[in-house]
């Protein structure tokens, strides 16, 4: 009899089918729910602190409000902004800047990323570069700093392979230039000061040529300067001193010619915290 044949699969009873469906569904809910909860771990443990674009709200609020669309990425003229991957947990799809790779030099002049943000994760309450607070620069390895060593800098910073770019207003207002196309010839290395977007704006304002002809673009406070240090020897040396006007954009970290950048950005730190 075919019903007794062991080869014919037994049709499961309704109860058994329902039991199996229930177990499967429970596994699905636990699996997908659990995997989504795993995505909280990198965030709650702060595994990968990131430099955020100008105007970013406090990290928690920033991640809450960011809709992960990348419109800020698309408008950045120096392509400084990237979206994080899954390993960033809740930061996945949220914008960050890797300053050493490509810093924000504010060459859009109008904080385009802030204007592009549809949710206000990059707050619309700021209008000018000097109002940004992304972090603060710090001379991390003074022993490596060329200025501290009293050395100059000649040639291309970061090497010919490096394809980061910055805007040089005096050369081309609208198109940023690759750093490997722009050699320097400096008796004392002051790249972090001379290329600082805040310092560049202050210089422009001093000679009566504020960016876009708008005096509101003029940063009220200096961000960085070279201070002479007495080393008791014949050579003169200098130390880059970070000042209150520093916004943490990361250009100094980007352009620093030493293998490991001598100057780095402390993400989200404020000048007042560091100089308390």
């Amino acid at each position: 009899m075919s019903e007794e044949s062991p080869k014919k699969p037994q049709r499961l009873s309704r109860k058994e089918r329902e039991r199996r469906e229930f177990l499967r569904t429970s596994a699905l809910v636990a699996g997908v729910g659990g995997f989504s909860l795993l995505q909280l771990i990198p965030t709650l443990t702060d595994a990968a602190p990131r430099l955020r674009p100008p105007g970013a709200l406090d990290e928690k609020e920033y991640l809450s409000s960011c809709i992960k669309c990348g419109q800020c990425v698309q408008v950045c003229p120096v392509e400084a902004i990237f979206l994080a991957d899954m390993l960033d947990g809740q930061g996945q799809g949220a914008a960050y800047i890797d300053a050493r790779n490509q810093a924000c030099d504010f060459s859009c002049d109008g904080l385009q990323c802030v204007l592009a943000c549809p949710t206000g994760a990059l707050t619309h309450e700021i209008n000018y570069s000097h109002e940004t607070r992304m972090g603060i620069a710090r001379l991390d390895k003074p022993a490596q700093c060329l200025a501290v060593k009293g050395e100059g800098f000649f040639g291309i910073t970061r090497g010919a392979e490096y394809n980061g770019k910055l805007r040089f207003d005096e050369i081309d207002r609208w198109n940023p230039i690759a750093l490997n196309q722009h050699p320097f010839d400096l008796e004392v290395c002051d790249l972090c000061v001379r290329l600082c977007p805040i310092e560049i704006r202050r210089t422009q304002c001093e000679v009566g040529k504020p960016p876009s002809g708008d005096i509101n673009q003029c940063p009220p406070k200096p961000a960085i300067e070279l201070q002479k240090i007495e080393n008791g020897r014949d050579t003169v040396s200098y130390v880059p001193a970070v000042l209150e006007g520093c916004v943490g954009c990361g250009v100094c970290e980007m352009v620093c010619p030493t293998d490991e950048p001598a100057i780095v950005i402390d993400i989200r730190k404020q000048w007042s915290e560091v100089n308390a």
Partner: protein, 325 residues
Amino acid sequence: MRIGKYCINVMLGKSPTKTPPAQISEEAKALHQKKKESGEIDKVKAREEHEIYRETHNKKWRTRRWATILFINLLFVASYALDIQLLEGALTASRFLGFHMADLNSALQVVLAFKTVLINLLIGFVTVLLMWILLGGRTFCSWVCPYHLLSEFAEMVHIKLVEKKIIKNHLFNRKARTWFYIFFAVLAFATGYTVYETISPTGILSRALIYGPTVALLWVAFLLTVEIFYSRRAWCRYVCPIGLTYGFVGTITPMKVNYNVVDCHHEGDCRKVCLVPHVLEWTIKGRSPEINVELGPDCTRCGMCIDVCPTDSLNFHFKGLSTKK
């Protein structure tokens, strides 16, 4: 109205039931009775007709739909890659010719997590809401979502493997999607993070297309693998809260698929190709409450049922514009 409520319950996971006689119109009753008595439909002939139609008929709606999915997603890609700026951003939020658009589910998640409504997000939300009210709610799923397209390919492989008896399909309880919907809403509100965004294959795929491949694509690949080997269309059917959000929009849209019972052979080919076959329960013999009845809000307006129907019993219908058969 009672039918409407019933359809929403079915969308939320209730199993479809036989239509109570009290809810079947006299006209429909008479037709059901007539079909039952006369046995007018020659079963073998009907089966044959269905099979011939399936093999010879070109899948008009599927072609249009795939072209639309590709066009919209490539428009995002081209806008950034070629800097033509027509459609900037990603599927979660964008600007079309400068006008804000926000995915309804992503916007809801952000509002729940951030607990503040920003004007640009509101504008984007309302624009997209109005658009999908006009176009049919879950139309987003089958006409825009890039995961839907990949999932359709996975489904084809899945069906082949089932036909060859290499694998079996496993069903889940459809209520799971409703539970996920509540879970992700509560999670966003409680943690302040848009947790669903981190596992949403729609967002992951959209961003990967526009901004370059990511590790997160492995998750999407895993989901597709599960859909090929274990459970047909599992993510869209049992998990995706985006689908349910647009399903709610589908309750108030004039854009529907209409079912006309008169010529139907009740062979059920439409239910076999459907992502959400519970919306096609009306096509079972004796269940249709009216001569013409609109499919429920969970319908993605993909047109697969229209493509396989040899009797022209299923059609797109825009309330007030097109006349029912």
